[in-house]
């Protein structure tokens, strides 16, 4: 328990912590509430008398229903899921192999290559999106899922590589040496000994990659144009606004349902996620 006089505990700990928690989580509460409030309650001006915006006695599923049946939301959900999973798979594959090579093998320019891969992690997508749009068009990948599945790894691989490197470094090299003496080729030692031990790291990297893919916006915005090809972030922000009118009930329902898959995956693997975030920073 926290030591100190009761008043101190409240002033210096409970109150600030609660304030943080409320501030950080309120928008999600607002998302949920808005999704289930009927329209007539939603569109009441902020200074109208006698109304409590934080609660509703008449929850409705009409927004969610409309979202799922009258828009392409489910398609966007499917698209985003496929893209995120594929990009994550590709990135894990590349990251595993590259991470192993950089941390366990000796070869010329190993250091420089590692540094270069690390640097590409820092390159923001907003620097590259215009020329990349052109390149995607030239490869005839415009407006397809592949445009994202192939470009997302550019910011996922460096992170996966980095994370896996850290993981591999913690595995003693005697294990591989023993495996090689036992009769395994380098390749087999990598596959049968090192990779199985690194599974927790692979999990962390995979989850982080999945959430990052889901969060990407500008490439999806620029490369995809048909409503049926869009991902959830792009679809929700572009297709749910008719004319100048924002359908907030549907928008918030869309925002909520769009967030759930990510939150779900995250909730299962919080420890791994936190480990990967802090690992990425501690280098």
């Amino acid at each position: 328990m926290i030591e100190g006089a009761l008043w101190r505990r409240w002033v210096f700990f409970y109150i600030p912590l609660s304030a943080f928690i409320i501030a950080l989580l309120f928008p999600f509460y607002w998302m949920v509430i808005t999704s289930i409030r009927p329209d007539r309650e939603l569109y009441r001006p902020w200074n109208a008398p006698n109304y409590n915006p934080f609660w509703t006695w008449y929850p409705t599923v009409s927004h969610v229903r409309d979202l799922l049946t009258q828009t392409l939301f489910t398609t966007w959900l499917l698209n985003t899921m496929i893209i995120a999973l594929s990009a994550t798979a590709i990135s894990l594959f590349c990251g595993l192999l590259a991470g192993y090579a950089l941390s366990r093998l000796k070869f010329p320019f190993a250091g420089s290559l590692g540094t270069i891969i690390f640097i590409t992690y820092l390159v923001p997508q907003t620097l590259l999106f215009i020329p990349l749009a052109d390149i995607i068009r030239n490869f005839h990948l415009g407006d397809t899922r592949w445009s994202l599945i192939l470009t997302y790894p550019t910011f996922l691989i460096p992170f996966c590589t980095w994370l896996m490197m850290g993981y591999f470094k913690s595995i003693p090299k005697e294990l591989e040496e023993c495996a090689r003496i036992d009769g395994a080729t380098r390749w087999k030692a990598m596959l049968y000994i090192i990779f199985p031990i690194a599974v927790p790291g692979i999990l962390s990297a995979g989850i982080f990659a999945f959430t990052l893919s889901w969060n990407e916006f500008i490439y999806a915005l620029v490369f995809l144009s048909s409503p049926g090809e869009k991902t959830v972030p792009v679809g929700v922000t572009s297709e749910l606004i008719r004319g100048d009118v924002f359908y907030w009930g549907e928008l918030m329902a869309g925002a909520l349902l769009g967030s759930i898959p990510v939150a779900f995956v995250y909730s299962f693997f919080v420890e791994h996620y936190v480990a990967s975030v802090t690992g990425s920073v501690k280098g």
Partner: protein
Amino acid sequence: MTFTTVAAPSSYVGTPRRGPVTRLLEDERWLALLLLLPTVVLLGLFIAYPFVKGIMLSVTDTRVGVPGHFVGLKNFEDVWNDSIFRVAVWNTCLYTVVTTVFKLALGLWLAVLLNRNFRGKTLTRAFILLPFIIPTVLSTLAWKWMFDPTFSVINWVLFHVGIIDSRINWLGEPGLAMISVIIVNVWRGVPFYAITLLAGLQTISPELHEAAAIDGARAWQRFRHVTWPLLLPVTLVVVLFSVIQTFADFQLVYVLTGGGPANATQLFATYAYQIGIGTGLLSQGATISLAVFPVLLLVVIVQLLYIRKVETH
């Protein structure tokens, strides 16, 4: 041998003959090449190539569907003389500096709070990261709704508490719009700072604090002389990474204000999008995008120097 030997299978050879591929892959260098190939190809194709192309675009006058001719530094001149671009420079710098300061301060405070043992600590830590996990545009949409001129819940609260009596046009007034955008960015970034700083705090052995306390240091002094110096490395990495991301930020402003009102929240990325994709002036858009490069270069150099310093310890 004095124990029954199980004969080796007929396929077993003490020193088997190895195929050429196997022998090749036993060589560290060839194996490394093979393992790194997919990564190098992907990154080369979709980072290095576009980067070079971006530079080429910025020195030509390409538009969508219209190939361009070499124009030297004309685009850079035009962009520099563009008043909106200058506004974007100011906005981006202000945005980055202010949000980073707040994220660091609040993140540190939250990290210190989370560093203690209390019931529900693990659950709290898990929930705290939600703003960072949930896709930015989706949570930004929620904020947009919260800031709505007519229906803002924030206004509702402030009104009922008695602080205001006329509405605050969060997104409609230039100064307020920038403040709103900063608020949302800080909201999103604090958890990331908090969690990584927390990890840093947890590597500081409590014995150091105890020793300092015995030596007579008070809480603030302990922080300044024990905690802060040991936290500096992690802080540096987090700040550098955050700076480059914030400088190149797009999603948040695009959704919240679109760059307005009247370019009050226009950033490099949103302006580049507007010019390059919106009006199809690819070369000029690419040129504006490149404005992010100097800061990227600076961050990379600082990071490399820092890594060099850490490795030589």
